[in-house]
């Protein structure tokens, strides 16, 4: 076995707080060998990123390493002063962050940022630095580097930007790269490309890679070794195949069982049971006083015909000179009573735009939306208000979809008050009931959204959506911002809603295993067009359209996972 380039021994990070010492990382040890990719997996708050930051010397004050050692190429680096640490950063350890949209400075060209970094670490003149930069862009498969060199980050797509970020991390030929959720913000197809690139580069340049992620699929496909962390501690560590197929620690077992399987359909999602944090929610109870006169006139609750949306790409006074971008192109489908209809596709394929048009958040440029036999697109203000009461939306980001200045009780009460559904004196009781049913504790109503975790906030969103007793629910990527363990919880609530309340749903996601578990029928979108609509099982077994097949092919197989 080769000697490790990086060794962490018994690393403990402390943050002094008002309530005493908090240790986000405790006694963590692992090694990285040249050319090896080590996955670090766990839910958010498990201390994965904090360990990465400690390695690269970027812990935010007042967090500090209180114990343990970090060895890089035979040198101990945890005790270095700020200036020496800075010299190692970027030179011997490179870093890749989660969000490629925000990790590049928007006011400097990509070339400027590359040359700056190269000249900082290597003794080369400007011309040589430029040459190296172009070679790096070429290496990370950016097409036409000489032209791209002079462009600004906003002219690159998300995947391209992440490639630039990787090029930046490689500038100084580091021996270790810390990649913190490098593909979480990317589409499945782009994710696969970026991970392949990381794999290739690790092997080709003998760089050790620490891949921090919460995605088991990424771990399974990419890493050689894996370290599982839970609340600051390593619970299990070893070769990836072995950990995935035969986990020994109960947390690992429960985490692996919570990963949605692409191969078969289960009735409910197994939840992570470790740590005694099971949340109970009682959707059945909600069903007792739920007005269930929801059967539509002809069995089809929502129908969409030739729906089209165009955005202006270039404005002009002359209509003939305007350039349009067709985000949604002649999309037609229908959703039956009590059905969960899935829409899948890459970002930019128009899924969310369809949802927003159905939710009357976007004007429709062509085609019709028909709800329970009535044409929504032809309705007057009064009809729209009635329609909006019957449909509700749950959005992707539970952090920005709740008003931070309002108490949770006010947030959930808002639809009731707005639509004047209950006399004011009954609103409070109804809100308390809704919060209780989605598994939030008694005092929750009097707190503000920032006091809750991502999963709890998404449950608040669900409570708000249920307040008007809607017949139709639009879920736009409801779990893509959440950890696997929390995801299972939210998806189970949604399943209960369908089962016990007979809700009809439009479920938008780019996560195919989740779609398989949730949906009865699925539509596949590409570049604004609906290329295929199928029963879920038929689609997963034998996709008809070439693009659907390609999408399914990119899905992480997870064959090593134990059952």
């Amino acid at each position: 076995m080769t000697t490790p380039v990086l060794s962490i021994r018994n690393l403990t990070v402390e943050i002094p707080t008002r309530h005493g010492l908090f240790k986000p990382v405790q006694n963590v040890s692992y090694d990285i060998r040249p050319g090896e990719i080590r996955g670090v997996v766990g839910e958010s708050g498990a201390g994965k990123s904090m360990t990465g930051n400690a390695i690269i010397g970027l812990l935010d004050e007042p967090a500090h390493i209180s114990q343990g050692e970090i060895w890089l190429n035979g040198k101990r680096i945890d005790g270095l002063d700020a200036d020496q640490k800075r010299r190692i950063r970027g030179a011997e350890i490179g870093m890749i962050f989660q969000d490629p949209l925000t990790s590049l400075n928007p006011l400097f060209t990509v070339g400027e940022q590359l040359v700056e970094t190269i000249q900082l670490h290597l003794e080369v003149n400007a011309a040589e630095a430029k040459e190296r930069a172009l070679a790096l862009l070429e290496r990370v498969s950016i097409p036409n580097p000489p032209e791209r060199f002079n462009q600004y980050p906003h002219q690159f797509s998300g995947g391209m930007r992440q490639r630039v970020v990787i090029a930046l991390a490689l500038c100084s030929e580091p021996s270790v790269i810390v990649a913190d959720e490098p593909t979480t913000a990317l589409d499945v197809s782009i994710q696969a490309q970026v991970l392949d690139l990381i794999k290739e580069l690790a092997a080709e340049r003998q760089v050790g890679v620490i891949l921090i992620t919460h995605d088991m699929g990424v771990i399974a496909d990419t890493t050689d070794e894996v370290t599982v962390m839970y609340s600051g501690e390593v619970v299990e560590s070893g070769p990836t195949d072995q950990i995935l197929s035969a986990p020994t620690h109960p947390y690992t077992k429960s985490l692996i069982s919570a990963v949605p399987r692409p191969q078969k359909k289960l009735h409910r999602f197994p939840q992570v049971s470790y740590g005694g944090r099971q949340t109970t929610f009682k959707i059945e109870d909600l069903a007792r006083n739920w007005d269930k006169s929801t059967a539509s006139r002809n069995g089809t609750l929502l129908e969409v015909q030739n729906l089209t949306k165009r955005f202006i790409e270039r404005g002009s006074i002359l209509p003939s000179r305007r350039k349009y971008f067709t985000a949604v192109d002649q999309v037609s489908f229908d959703i039956k009573d009590g059905e969960v209809f899935g829409l899948v596709g890459e970002s930019g394929s128009g899924k969310s735009t369809v949802a927003k048009m159905i939710g009357t958040l976007h004007e429709v440029d062509g085609g019709k939306v028909i709800f329970d036999g009535e044409e929504v697109t032809a309705m007057q203000a009064e009809g729209i208000a009635r329609y909006r009461k019957q449909i509700q939306m749950i959005f992707q980001d539970p952090f920005s979809s709740l008003n931070p200045r309002m108490k949770v009780a006010q947030i959930v009460a808002e639809p009731l008050v707005h639509h004047k559904l209950l006399p004011p004196d009954q609103v409070g009781a109804r809100v308390a009931e809704l919060l209780d049913r989605v598994g939030l504790t008694k005092g929750a109503g009097q707190k503000y959204p920032h006091e809750f975790s991502g999963g709890q906030r998404q449950r608040i969103s669900i409570a708000r959506a249920l307040a008007t007793q809607p017949r139709f629910l639009i879920c736009d990527e409801p779990t893509s911002a959440l950890d696997v363990s929390i995801q299972a919880q939210i998806l189970n609530i949604l399943k209960d809603l369908q089962e016990h309340l007979g809700l009809t749903m439009l479920f938008i996601s780019h996560d195919l295993p989740v779609v398989r578990q949730m949906c009865d029928r699925v539509g596949v979108m590409k570049n604004g067009q609906l290329v295929e609509v199928q029963d879920t099982e038929t689609l997963f077994a034998s996709p008809q359209h070439a693009y659907s097949a390609q999408l399914l092919d990119l899905m992480p197989r997870l064959t090593q996972l134990s059952d």
Binding site: L58, M95, F97, P106, F108, E116, V165, C171
Partner: protein, 323 residues
């Protein structure tokens, strides 16, 4: 880029047209100018004749168009009080105000940005906290009080600097400047500080909070992870991003410096446009007031136009979306 500029210029003209209406309507509502111009012993024929001569018997919209047409050529009529061309008076007074404004704007921008960056980087330092607390004084004290305090301290007690006037000026033919003589420079210091202090503290606090915001961004973190030095990160990466919103405010404040020079000029008896305007108000010298109003609005509009163009130059994202 070009359509964007054309659009902005179009909007600017609209704004000017509206302020033109306001300036013009002063003539109609502040009283009948004929009454002001003819004395007690006027006859009905005199009034009629003058009314016809001045074109005041024509319909209001036509009068307005004529006024605008003249104004565009720089002809704002004759001052009621001094009996001279308004444009001539304004040209005579403008250098004093523009010099004062330029000096105090430079003071405000340079010191404001420098202190803003300093207090942002040394966020918890003693000096930074002291500057932040002291800046509250600059924001909360009214201009005239600052002026009077400065006069008391530096002119009355210490007797270092003059308390009023412009000192000796050098006439360059088309421009009179106080920047070339010692007494002129000395006379400039107190009014420039008085006028610029509020803007300086405002810019400083704005730069500080913007900079703190930028320093929290991911790309700054990533720049650290690339091993860039603090100096490069603070002054190259962070400062440029900080300046994007700050430019707008600085632009608006430059307009404000010229417009609000009135108070400073009154306190220091500075022979500029502000003092001219105050005197004009006292004597209901409507042509001067109207011309001043038009001039200030042109200045604001031009500054805003320049700011918008600068904005697009600094921020490549704006450039792309506007072409």
């Amino acid at each position: 880029m070009l359509p964007f500029i054309i659009k902005r210029i179009g909007q600017s003209f609209l704004v000017l047209l509206i302020t033109g209406v306001i300036a013009f309507s002063m003539f109609r509502f502040v009283g009948d100018p004929i009454e002001n111009m003819l004395g007690q012993e006027r006859t009905a024929e005199d009034v009629e004749r003058l009314r016809g001569q001045l074109g005041l018997d024509q319909p209001v919209p036509i009068q307005y168009v004529k006024y605008l047409a003249e104004a565009i050529q720089g002809n704002f009529g004759v001052s009621y009080r001094q009996g001279r061309e308004v444009s001539e008076i304004i040209l005579e007074r403008a250098p004093a105000t523009l010099e004062l404004a330029a000096v105090s704007a430079t003071f405000a921008v340079v010191l404001g940005i420098a202190l803003g960056v300093f207090t942002a980087i040394r966020r918890d330092g003693f000096l930074a906290n002291f500057i932040m607390s002291a800046s509250l004084i600059g924001v909360s004290l009214p201009t005239f009080l600052i002026g009077i305090l400065l006069i008391y301290l530096f002119s009355v007690e210490l007797n270092w600097l003059p308390s009023f006037g412009r000192g000796e000026v050098v006439d360059l033919g088309w421009w009179t400047t106080g920047l070339l003589t010692e007494s002129g420079l000395k006379a400039l210091i107190l009014p420039a500080i008085t006028l610029g202090l509020y803007q300086m503290t405002l810019i400083m606090r704005l730069v500080r909070s913007e900079m703190l915001e930028v320093l929290r961004q991911d790309y700054i973190r990533f720049a650290r992870a690339r091993g860039l030095s603090d100096k490069t990160i603070n002054f190259r990466h962070a400062l440029k991003n900080t300046m994007v919103p700050v430019i707008t405010i600085i632009g608006l404040q430059l307009g404000a410096i010229i417009a609000f020079a009135i108070i400073t000029e009154t306190v220091f008896q500075w022979p500029g446009l502000g003092l001219l305007f105050i005197n004009a108000i006292q004597f209901v010298d409507v042509p001067v007031m109207a011309a001043y109003l038009m001039m200030i609005s042109v200045m604001f509009v031009v500054i805003n136009l320049v700011v918008d163009i600068l904005y697009a130059l600094v921020d490549p994202r704006l450039r792309a979306s506007s072409t």
